[in-house]
Symmetry: C2
Subunit: 350 residues, 2 copies
DNA sequence: GTGAAAGCGCTAACAT
DNA sequence: ATGTTAGCGCTTTCAC
């Protein structure tokens, strides 16, 4: 099969120059005489020559690859991040190799080993858990690395994250402004630091207003299980007047549960979701949600990573971006603002 | 920076054997004495040795990479396909390099050039348009290739697609069964063969029932433009009783337009969407939709591709999978079945 | 400014 | 069964 592709040597012969000159022309790193440049270009075009990145990389030791490890490829938050990262990275001639850690530490390690065996110029990793199973391997390999989204508090390297505490506080304040004193927080899993931060943001805000911190319901990651737990909770007597869902899956699961239970949104219960997707806009009612700056996160990650690749050895930095609340129709005002201390709290948290 | 990672030579020295033996042990392709195997394994573990795939690949000429080119990474249909492909591929030790063609022929070509420069073992491509801009490059490179989803009728190679005509006919029959004689078909763009096929499936079915083929509204790809065109059409007097949206974006856009126009689904207009996503289940009303077998498509693609990689040179095959109609709440019965000839038609199309 | 030669880390022949 | 040698296609000295 596969007739061999032309090599640089073939191009050199056709152009009547040495391989080194071809390399210099194509790589554009040494000055070459104009006439020769033309000849080489023409020869390369004639042969449909394409450089062999593998050989190039082996010799130069420099690669134009960024490895990306995400917890899952089924979650649009992660895939949108990849899309944004791909745009940023390819604009500088890098390719990305991706792998999914499958929400599993062992898989994360295995996949990272595979990614590292490409000797990438850098890696972007969204750990599958706070344990960040692949961390040691990455440190050992000395490859520049930026951790995104799931950043453990004690993480020592470069990181990009959102202000999860403040993001959730945005939702809490919104509820307080319109009289919701008893809300329910639906979290996927409290094993993740960013989810815990979101809980804290809500609790702080409520406490700041002189109220009890809201109840937190941990529902797990599997869609069916989530629905079941939410339904069980909402079947109880003391129903909340509002719900904050802390992830996009949780948001969807909550909506599904409301539907099965025949609970009207926002008339019976108000809802604030997490992550801002198109379907939330077209849903009936449209869903008020906390949106994460996905493109901004990707750009920040690449900015840091490419600086490191270029040799920046300044101290590690954590870049924290802000989320915003997209107010839509899924939240109903049920009373006057409950903000005795809320404003103070807001000032504190800034 | 980056202290150099250990090489095979380092391992060989530490284990007191030759590099070739290390290669044989780690690659597991020649019998090696048990004691030596142990020594090598230990040495490799001690040094945290990781094989350099770049060097390995350069020498052996064999790569364990599959390149995947999709039109967009923002569309969940494509990312789900990638997720499924990643699972299939990594179970056989391959890595995936992805790129987005950005719905643009020129970008598709540029990205494919980059992907091919890795000399991948195979490529999976979802063309950005029917022109399949990257086709020639792939053929020239002689790399095994499977085309997925957007398969032009005249395509000569291996391909995996769904029976688009029958998929759309499923929706048409559903509408006919419950008395909808006047429906509107909302297509993203008729430039894509699979979309045209879907239109044909609906037209055939209606004609088979002795009715006029439904009107087709082409709305483009940009979300805002889509909404505007739909709204303009629905503001007219002759409203359809039902709408079939032929892509997931079109489905979302139609829902958004209905909402802005205050049109109730399914009471005023019934809706059948395309692609089956979780949000369609939780939407109110839940959306009846045609679901594509994404995982099945990915598995079929890998099955074909891995056969080709292993040297299969049987004639090219097109694998066609069936879609299914998920009946939910967005469709209302408005009369008796209109199926005089519909059943005959169904038999014909099989 | 250009070319000759060495060699990146590995694996495939071949020799032992 | 193991070691030795050569060389994959490129880039990088280092001569010229």
């Amino acid at each position: 099969m596969a007739r061999k592709p032309p090599t640089m040597r073939d191009v050199a012969v056709r152009a009547g120059v040495s391989p080194a000159t071809v390399s210099n022309v194509l790589g554009g790193r040494k000055r070459v005489d104009g006439a020769l440049v033309e000849r080489v270009r023409k020869a390369a075009a004639d042969l449909d020559y394409q450089i062999d990145r593998v050989a190039s990389q082996l010799r130069s030791g420099k690669t134009r690859v960024v490895s990306v490890l995400v917890p899952s490829l089924e979650n649009p938050f992660f895939t949108s991040l990849i899309a944004a990262l791909e745009r940023a990275v390819r604009s500088e001639g890098y390719d990305i190799i991706i792998a999914s850690g499958n929400d599993d530490d062992a898989v994360e390690r295995a996949r990272m080993a595979a990614l590292l065996s490409w000797r990438p110029a850098g890696v972007v990793v969204l750990p599958s858990s706070d344990r960040f199973a692949a961390r040691q391997m990455i440190e050992d390999s000395q490859v520049p690395c930026v951790v995104v989204d799931r950043v453990a508090a004690e993480h020592g390297g470069d990181a990009v994250t959102v202000d999860n505490r403040e993001a959730a506080a945005l939702a809490a304040r919104h509820f307080l402004e319109i009289g919701h004193s008893r809300i329910l927080v639906v979290a996927s899993t409290l094993d993740l630091a960013n989810i815990r931060e979101r809980c804290v943001g809500i609790a702080e805000t409520y406490r700041g207003a002189g109220l009890e911190p809201p109840e937190v319901l941990e529902v797990g990651l599997s869609f069916d299980e989530v629905g079941e737990r939410i339904e069980r909770r909402l079947a109880e007597d003391e129903r909340p007047t509002g719900v904050v869902a802390l992830t996009n899956f949780a948001t969807m699961a909550v909506i599904a549960a409301f539907k099965r239970l025949g609970i009207a949104v926002p008339d019976e219960i108000s809802l604030i979701g997490f992550d801002d997707y198109a379907w939330m806009r077209v849903s009936t009612p449209s869903i008020t949600a906390i949106g994460q700056p996905i493109a901004g996160m990707a750009e920040a990650a690449w900015e840091r990573l490419s600086a490191r690749i270029d040799g920046d050895d300044s101290p590690p930095r954590t870049i924290t971006l802000d989320c915003r609340l997209e107010v839509r129709q899924s939240v109903l005002s049920i009373g006057p603002p409950l903000r005795k201390l809320a404003d103070l709290q807001r000032t504190n948290s800034l």
